[in-house]
Symmetry: C2
Subunit: 141 residues, 2 copies
């Protein structure tokens, strides 16, 4: 897998250490494909490194979230799920007043999508999505 160089670079630039645990967690998220729970990630890594603690997984996930390397999807009921962040994929919020557009990470709509699929079996088209509304500046001004 290429692209891991980015992760390493991002970690180092931010002054974080590249530990085996972080590499393994990152691999597990990437290889797992979809949206995985912290527990699933832990279960996967433990196969090859039995000492990894679930608390460490949570700390790493927080870190990766903060660095925008992974995205958290949390529907409330069960545990949160994590996926590799795809920086290019996003939707838009369009202000009806000033017409400016703001990026909106796919994860926001991913939560909605997951619920529609799970609860209704309805697979929404969310490819080119834009939400109209009023931005913070125009609302306060």
């Amino acid at each position: 897998m290429a692209g891991h160089g980015n992760v390493v670079a991002t970690l180092k630039e931010a002054g974080y250490r590249l530990t085996p645990q972080r590499v393994m967690v990152l691999q597990a998220i990437a290889e797992g494909g979809g949206h995985q729970t912290a527990e699933a990630i832990h279960r996967e890594v433990v196969k090859t490194y039995p000492y990894l603690d679930i608390a460490t997984v949570y700390r790493i996930l927080q870190l990766l979230k903060r660095l925008h390397l992974v995205t958290e999807i949390d529907l409330g009921g069960d545990s949160a799920r994590y996926e590799v962040a795809e920086p290019n994929k996003h939707h838009h919020m369009v202000c009806r007043v000033c017409s400016r557009t703001f990026d909106l990470s796919t994860s926001y709509l991913e939560e909605l999508r997951l619920r529609l699929v799970n609860e209704f079996g309805f697979e929404p088209d969310l490819e080119h999505f834009a939400i109209g509304g009023q931005c913070a500046e125009c609302a306060s001004g």
Copy 2:
């Protein structure tokens, strides 16, 4: 407040008892206005009836949810919030294959709205919302 008759009727029809606790919880939700947590509801009722247990609040909320009298909104991070269900207000899912439309409770988009407001200060226009996609039947058929 009129409309409480509906609630009483719904409870009785379903074979449930009308207890003071249920009335008080329902009142607290209605009067609280927005989306309240179980703890906030409990805090409110306890002012006039100090014996109400938080577990009872949760049990009543589950019941009201099951009867579609209140709606649960759960963003994952903090505790779930509850609001009176407004049966008339809903959005639509439109199947791109069969063109049928399916009702979508406002609570689904309410979660999205809350996140956009909280995290970006962006107030989305979600009045007449329709989501395109493919329904369960057309996806399996």
